[in-house]
Symmetry: C3
Subunit: 320 residues, 3 copies
């Protein structure tokens, strides 16, 4: 595996899940694989879970880890070619990327959508430069459009907790004070479409996800109707994806607090588990009582980030 | 040991000191103990000695180390339950703490007093959440009220340099431009009360330390009288502890430069050693000539931070 | 080797180059040398290549690495003696440096010229305090006046790519929007004077480098004339070194864009290789087409930073 971006990069999903559970039983069994190998984790944006779980995963595999916070301890990078660089950016990505590639064996990159240009965001301008110029395998630690380490952990969690062969999984939009990227819902939709689940998406009008991720998944604009009989509720806010309303890309269209997942919402489900990728705004996305209920999987789901990352890095090491 | 907060957590102090000197002779002898174990060091506040010495200690024991600077590279955390999180805080400690606990075996936390509420500070609101929700052993890397890794290092240093079986040790307040927490003097008083020393505290009126730490230690308001015949002078500034003057908690009551430890002060001692936990404001707390004198132990004392941390982490690993 | 600052610290340059190429063949062959040894990397200024390549080098040698960003996660340090420290600086270098030395075996320091005082900068006030007070071997990761890890990497690169026994190497000033230190050109001149090359320096009037570094190297004020027949063009901006114009130390005297290295400049060379230490301002220092040409060595040169650092740390470990 030279790139970890989409669900297809993992090949047979059932095999990947088996591997995840095997790793979870003994996460240190592949320590020789990473000896004298270095993972470089590059953060253009803040991170808690991804930062910790990916470091832990790399160390599980015996790797050395270097963490680089761009814009903290390094400097701003120019991304456009042809610019006379007389401003505040000291270096061009076209130099910085191959240089970073020199000092490591695997590169993880976090770089969020900027909402300045839907085209740039959805073309994965930054990450594609890393793929093209770093000379090393690249895994996405949340990019402008996807967050596959999260979705793989989500899938592992659903597989662990499901009570039926083909559970009903609902991805539900919920309100948030700020404009958030679509990376998590995009990836979650992509992974659920590839998994053996009954997948439904619910959100207000205008929040339609990009077809390349959501595919022909069922969309239900009535949130409570979507929740009926659900086995898993996956809540998440996202800003306008600019599909049905291109001019509103990246904007907050709606703060309707009736979409907050509360006990009344959960009451219509099949005693569903509650999931969220975290960080979560309590009493915006979900009420205190739902997130603290026995049905809440937010912590086991986060714990599985270490497992998904270990599997991904293991496969990348094996392919070196 | 599941929590390292107070002197009692270490059990028999003489045994702990013996262990410290044994570790100091060969600090790498327990490298197998930490294999495939991860220490997570969480800093809500800045750090130099604690950051370096605790990383070093964990590596002495063969551990992996992850350092997390909250508010730098991560984000602000909500600490109150029931809040509608529509402000600048992206995540709740109730999620963040168990998540952090997922990716490590031991957790160290630095979180200073905020002086917003004496009750919150003295109830150790933040650290107690880590103890309660992280699922992992927690060691204090300076909390709102204590700094036990420092006090243990101080005790080791006194044991190394003492010239009599029961030396006279004086904790002396000294002036400082800013309001500092009471963590260091609280812990130092607690540890000296538990050690075999003649302990005296001296400070201006209003700076009385909390009885749960200072106990029935002798307090002498005349600094020079306190210094008479002392074997060790331990200087430190602290702000008003709010014991005798509750309304002034966390305030600077006094900047009397006659309390600065200078040669005239040291002249009345029994050729005392000078100690300070560092960082120290020169010519506020202590004059250049005293801190640079052969009697100054500030550097060996700092070096013993590695030893105290190694012993504490070793014991926590043994108890896993 | 107790200090790595100048080319002389490396002894016989040919032997050092042989060692570099041997290390490059197998950079992990000395992993036992660094076992249980800790490198502390202290950054007073930002860093990308030095940060990554030096971490990688230390890990190549089996060392533990601690990275400390002063002013981020630590605090401001006082450097003057005798000051009443009642301002924003919490600690004095005279305490901080020996303390840092306690927790490691080797210390690397980055501390740029401040341009506040030519005397302080050129006396290496900060680095010399580390050499004097840390108690540990110190290597320069770019100081006020030198950047020897860069120059050693440059020399390795020239040795790898040279097509004649004694190539012509031209150090050329080029325009830049901000005032940059002279560390890179100083060191490059020092190392080229010590190497077996035909060395020429070219820059506008007023940019004369300090004689202690540039020695009696040939200076040619006509850039194109300097470039004639060159085998290597080493471009770099620097601010006024204050040699011929003492009052202008650290100032930008010139932004003449005719000095930008473009295809017309390269056309008069002997099909020269293009070198730059990076980060580089494109279309200020060098045009897009020159830096992207097959003759551009900026990436292999950066990759050799890992090699130069590995050799330097290896020698320091051997001398412990």
């Amino acid at each position: 595996m030279r790139v970890f971006q989409n669900v297809e990069d993992l090949g047979d999903l059932k095999a990947a899940l088996r591997e995840a559970f095997e790793v979870k039983k003994n996460r240190f069994q592949y320590q020789e694989l990473g000896r004298s190998k270095t993972a470089l984790l590059i953060f253009f944006n803040n991170s808690l879970r991804t930062r910790l779980s990916t470091q832990k995963a790399a160390m599980n595999l015996g790797m050395n880890v270097i963490v680089l916070d761009v814009n903290q301890g390094a400097w701003k990078l120019e991304t456009e070619r042809g610019v006379i660089m007389d401003g505040d950016k000291s270096e061009h990505l076209l130099e910085a990327i191959p240089v970073m590639g020199c000092y490591c064996d695997l590169i993880g990159v976090r770089s969020f959508a900027t909402f300045e240009s839907r085209k740039d965001d959805y073309e994965e301008k930054i990450l594609n430069q890393f793929i093209r110029y770093s000379g090393k395998p690249v895994f996405f630690m949340e990019s402008a459009t996807v967050h596959p380490l999260q979705s793989f952990a989500d899938l592992i969690t659903i597989e662990e907790y499901k009570r039926t062969a083909r559970p009903k999984v609902v991805l539900s939009w919920a309100p948030h004070p700020k404009a958030l990227p679509q990376a998590v819902p995009n990836s979650f939709a992509q992974w659920m479409n590839a998994a053996d689940v009954d997948f439904v998406v619910t959100h207000p009008e205008g929040y339609e996800l990009d077809p390349r991720f959501v595919g022909d998944a069922r969309v239900e604009y009535d949130q409570l109707k979507a929740f009926e009989g659900a086995d898993f509720i996956y809540a998440k806010n996202w800003s306008c994806p600019g599909v049905t309303r291109p001019a509103d890309y990246g904007k907050v269209l709606n703060k309707d607090m009736s979409w907050t997942v509360d006990a009344a919402h959960m009451a219509v489900t099949n005693n569903a588990f509650f999931m969220h990728c975290l960080p979560v705004r309590r009493n915006m996305i979900v009420t205190d009582d739902v997130i603290e209920s026995p049905q809440s999987l937010v912590i086991p789901e986060a714990a599985n980030r270490e497992i998904s990352a270990t599997v991904v890095l293991k496969r990348m090491l094996e392919a070196l």
